[in-house]
Symmetry: D3
Subunit: 135 residues, 6 copies
């Protein structure tokens, strides 16, 4: 199994609801360093897993929708705790959609799984990994 990974980051404010979050129930924020790993069993005709330039552009555009935002005010996240692991899935869904609609290039149909990891500090990180529909 082959993989290629790319990294970018975004910076947001948010708060959490639930006693389990303790002081993080207050409005605070985070920098998330985001790694997206693309996996497939065989390389394409160019010898690559994915066009790394397009992968970087798609990742930047995906994170751009959240960057410098207060996630408490993002309608689609209403009623949700935007935890690290929840956000990893939200970003996975967007990357998966980009793959399906061709934004990652024609060779990207061979990508089988994607893993999104969000580093929230030097001592904690979270991820979501799933198959691409149709892969």
């Amino acid at each position: 199994m082959y993989s290629v990974s790319v990294r970018d980051h975004f910076m947001i404010a948010h708060s959490f609801r639930g006693a389990v979050f303790g002081p993080a129930q207050a409005l605070h924020g985070a920098t998330y360093v985001v790694d997206v790993e693309f996996r497939r069993a065989e390389l394409d005709a160019d010898g690559i897993v994915v066009d790394i330039g397009r992968a970087c552009e798609v990742l930047k555009a995906t994170l751009g929708a959240f960057n410098f935002k207060n996630l408490d005010e993002v309608p689609e996240f209403a009623g949700k705790n935007t935890t690290t692991e929840f956000l990893a899935k939200a970003i996975f869904d967007r990357i998966a959609s980009a793959a399906r609609t061709g934004l990652l290039g024609p060779g990207a149909h061979g990508i089988q799984t994607v893993k999104v990891t969000l580093g929230e500090s030097h001592i904690a990180w979270g991820s979501y990994e799933g198959r691409l529909a149709g892969a």
Copy 2:
């Protein structure tokens, strides 16, 4: 599959028995930077994999049993080479036990697998990954 990981460290002395270890048969030591990854298929009602505060406490308590020790004198390790990979399993067993006994919180019953990685230097690390009993 979702995951959350936390990091801590401990510092020990030990020696190894067996020609394969070469100069590491002498009494020496190591700093181990320990990453524990918790994985599950679905988030709990709070939108998390595990209570990250409890996960950090359980990890610190687990490593505290070894920290600043000479592992050659720890009774339960008698007759064992306390290699990086062996210690990864020993820490996994303790984290798994903590999950079973509720120390990671009530939501932790949904955790399916745990991976423990010990970094011993900037060029070498080892890990153990296993399923939680009952998961």
Copy 3:
């Protein structure tokens, strides 16, 4: 010249005022990974720059005053842009005060300079470095 450094982190929300900040004028947030370096010309009688346990405690307490806060609502920062470099100075001032008041231990009077570095992402960081009063 000797040095010892310790690391911790905090997570905050804030916004900036000024066209130079572009989209960061909106309420957003950051994780800051904070390194504090203590420097002195000679070690103390125990062979150390600073009691590393106390240094970690002072750093944690210092960051605890900001952690999980919206810095826009912190009175002492009113009218200020809480940029990475500004916060580095704010933390330096607190660490310097802790050294003066003995919180770093009696040996800490030998510390001459302190440098505080805040990592805001994998591609950007800021710092403030200054002398301790009386050093």
Copy 4:
């Protein structure tokens, strides 16, 4: 499942063919930081996954065949794009061969899978993971 990983690096020149590579079609180069992870279900009699000394030697020898080379002039790569993911597989093949021929020591027959990861920068990396023949 247990694992042990070791790290080394090599520095090469190469060029790519194909519009997908954009400006990387020109002769340029890269430092690859290479991680090799060995995995097996049970430790050997010494309590290890692999002799870490031999693993480091085999990795250094493997990378030595490419280090300080122009990969465009390496006969076995003729007609191939020596992408990060392609090179991960090429290194995997050599490590797998070393395991089969005993260069990793007699205990290495228990190794089941090997993963080779090549870091090409702080924001991109690629890997190949496969089973060892006979494992």
Copy 5:
């Protein structure tokens, strides 16, 4: 003293002349991860060392002149060994020039020193640090 640092990278081919370089006399290449640190005694009216957005743009443009090149064919480097430390100075000169010509913004006139560090692998890096003319 305050500082702000930003990071980017570039990938080049080159060769060295001189017995001291051993096998690196052959055409090979490197990824350089580049950190640029800007330092000044006082923050500007916005509370910053430098406009971090402009700093990133200037760094990317500076590295873009070298990225995906064979440095042996860059006229201004003719007869020079483009070592890590030499390249750090070459990049410093361009960043210094950008500061003088206003590309870093009007507040950048307060910047006193700049340090450029090039990471060539996980075990080696080089830097050049100098004062800005007029600072």
Copy 6:
């Protein structure tokens, strides 16, 4: 000012004497990741700060004298606490001696200062920096 840095590591056991060390008074150990930075105002005729190959060899030989040892039994450290910062100075002295005796090559006489940093974990490190005699 130019610099070049190289990295290696060593693993030791030791204990400390003095109440300030708390539980670290017991026999334990550490991995130290060691960075040595060489600085000089001008490059030599080859365009380098130091022969990086020789620098790596000298560092490895220096650390080899301590690696896999119990520092409590090293005669020259008798009566000393082998703290991170103390060891940084001990390694500095050996690197400085190697420079004087020509082990770093004839060009090394231009090196003015050396800084030795020992990382003891992901959250703590220490260093010693000094001038080379005659520089």
